[in-house]
Amino acid sequence: MQVKTLLAGAAIAAAFAIPLQAYAEQAGGTMRVYHRGTPPSGSIHEEATSSTVMPYMSVFNNLVMYDQAVAKNSLDSIVPDLATDWSWDESKTKLTFKLRSGVKWHDGKPFTAKDVQCTWDMLQGKTKARMRKNPRKSWYWNLDKVTADSDTQATFHMKQPQPALLALLASGYSPVYPCHVSPKKMRTNPIGTGPFKFVALKQNESIKFVKNEDYWKEGRPYLDAIDWTIIKSRSTRILAFVADEFDLTFTADVSVPLLKDVKEQAPNAVCHKVTTNVSTNLIVNRDAPPFDNEQVRKAMAIAMDRSAFIKILSNGENQLGGAMLPPPSGGWGMPAEVLAKAPGYGEPDEDVAKAQAMMKAAGYGPDNRLAVKVSTRNIAIYRDPAVILLDQLKAIYIDAELEVIESSNWHATVARKDYQVGLNLTGVGVDDPDVVFFENYACGSQRNYTGYCSQEMMELFKKQSSMTDQDARRKLVWEIDSRLQGDVARPMIDHRVGATCAQPRVQGLTVMVNSSYNGWRFEDIWLKK
């Protein structure tokens, strides 16, 4: 009896042990990922593109980061990184971080609070060492200073309470840089404290990273190395993934129509179809005629049939929303019933009729059509919606001509305001109103392309930023978002959906659903042998 019991117990134990063993993390191996093009540099703070942040995020640590195993970034999914703990003072304007001790930079030098101070001093332009570009200056509008209280404690001093500061600091775009390394070196040979060390970048060829054997997080990373192969041709790289040359695709590189092909040709591939928090939108030059006329701007914005865009461009997969990514993926976007009340989001036929009336009031009509140019980048994901827009504008007496701008000149053209209407894509680093509003709609922000500026809205931006009750903040954010659509600040067309695919052997990967920029630490990923 005892023997039988023992045998039964052993059998049960074995039955459990097998799956446990099968799913135990296995260390070692090189993960092969393809990249869509040579990154402009390795310095995350100087770039605003997933081309840099996806490969290089694994070189660095933040003070805090988004839990890499939670798909939806939010204040609740923030976990310690270089900071072990953090606390707000009573006035909610001082955020103090206790820092991990014993952490070393990849060159062997110790990490201290001075590095934290130095990083944010540089972002605020207070250091002698200057970065060539500082695309996220607007994120720190409320930051007064950062102090290094001791080697293991740093404090962020804010001008007003800003609970969402943590959300910004948790982004892949917010790594801590070493004080002793120049910005130039950070562009070409970045040094971090992260799980992987940068080895080399060969333009048009590859980027290589190896495991940081001295990584402070015990048992991490699992991988020995990450090899990125740069493949410019999308057809080639997708075929190469199908042929099992790569473990992982570039983030959101598989478009909705392509996903069908990939699934057919590589049925075992695990593909994550997610919202990327990249929106398609219009930028309208409100300083130049005819769009200095508010009626014409509004008519154009409400005449767009957004569902038609979504259906044509993504087989209906892209999402309808305002400035903020809509739920359920987004944490702050207007729900459908609120969105339906926003200007331009009602019934398309009724909206077109309203827009026609506005155009007539502005002096245009079937016999006096308005000729405009719609400018966009010479990239398919920009051109395709622009062509649909041209067609839709005909209904409101606008004869638009497409002006395709060479991709590399796009932002220069926009900065010169050398356009009438531009069809643009905007990527959002963090799904938080503090990022979206201050980056894209605040007076004086470098990335507020249209120059939209309303003091009343600025006050609302600041008010929502200071709110600690997140539910009340959400309601205010919806109101702001709706008003931004009504003001034609940057009319939204859709929020894009894309897929990231991995081979089934890739374990521990979570693809974020509300940002393409925050989930690439790679320290928890392992390859099933």
Binding site: S51, K133, S233, S408
Partner: protein
């Protein structure tokens, strides 16, 4: 002959100087510069930061000063720094040249290996089913867009063999290298061999109607001796010209092949450098390609003398 070589050398120098001015001027005429493009990846352009960057890269100097600095540097062997990688331009360019040179040499080898004999066969067997077949094959070689053919090859490999013949890592040995380059070289060589085949055929047909061929046949010379000893030897001159042109073209003209097969050679690098307005890379690379083209033409001209005793350079 010596006087001819000296004269041609001087002419080559003048050509290269002219080319340097043209490429330098054209690059500056294209809208935007590296500062615009670097800011593009940051999603904005800050006029003050842009001006500082232009100053740092020497782009705020006058155009003649920029040209002079480049030429003086070039004469001293200093090619400057890549604006993108911030590494010496020579370190970026030099490793890519052998890659493209090997691919081009293999492509040229394939094209001559197939183009020349098939052209002779097609001419000798004029108006037979074999001639028709070869002409159809050569026409398809000329008319198939190379990107399409290359993608078709990749798709065929993935579908039938579950693998893809693209460059992902540097090959470990000569055999791997040969295997890696042979598929893209065949894709490029198909077009070149079609061109060589058609030219050989038409040139052969013209020669085979000459009196001396008829005389050779009348004297009882064998078909092989007539076709290869007399006809081909005289028909090969225009073919050599086209092979020379193809050789020069292949050094800078493999853009599509390098892109589709992901080969990190100079052609793809040049296109990317143009897109980035990476002046030091573009200027020096175009000059290098120019030198290759000029030298190849010169060598082809010299080759004429040994191939045709009637040609003499005074």
């Amino acid at each position: 002959m010596v006087a001819y070589i000296v004269r041609r050398t001087l002419l080559m120098a003048v050509t290269l100087i002219g080319m340097s001015i043209i490429i330098f001027a054209l690059l500056r005429l294209v809208p935007g510069n590296i500062a615009d493009i670097l800011f593009d990846s940051a999603g904005f352009v800050d006029p003050a930061e842009k001006a500082a960057l232009e100053e740092e890269l020497g782009l705020s100097d006058s155009i003649p000063v920029q040209y002079w600095n480049w030429i003086v540097g070039l004469a001293q062997g200093d090619l400057g720094f890549s604006y993108v990688s911030e590494l010496p331009a020579i370190d970026e360019i030099a490793p890519r040249i052998p890659i493209t040179a090997k691919l081009a040499a293999l492509a040229l080898f394939f094209s001559v290996l197939f183009g020349l004999p098939l052209g002779v066969i097609s001419a000798v067997k004029q108006n037979t089913w074999l001639d028709y077949f070869l002409r159809v094959v050569s026409l398809s070689g000329l008319s198939l867009p190379s990107f399409w053919l290359a993608l078709l090859i990749l798709m065929a490999f993935v579908t039938w063999f579950g693998t893809i013949p693209i460059y992902t890592d540097p090959p470990d040995n000569l055999w791997d290298e040969l295997l890696l380059y042979s598929i893209p070289a065949a894709a490029v060589g198909f077009r070149s061999s079609a061109l060589i085949m058609r030219l050989t055929r038409s040139s052969m047909l013209e020669v085979m109607r000459q009196d001396y061929i008829r005389t050779a046949k009348a004297k009882g010379a064998s078909d092989r001796s007539v076709n290869y000893g007399h006809a081909l030897a005289n028909a090969v001159l225009p073919v050599v010209t086209i092979i020379g042109i193809e050789a020069a073209f292949l050094i800078g003209g493999l853009i599509v092949t390098e892109t589709v097969f992901n080969i990190p050679g100079v052609a793809r690098f040049l296109v990317e450098a143009i897109q980035w307005r990476d002046y030091p890379i573009v200027q020096n690379l175009v000059m290098f390609i120019g030198v290759i083209v000029v030298l190849t033409n010169f060598l082809v001209d010299l080759l004429y003398v040994s191939l045709d005793p009637r040609i003499k350079y005074e």
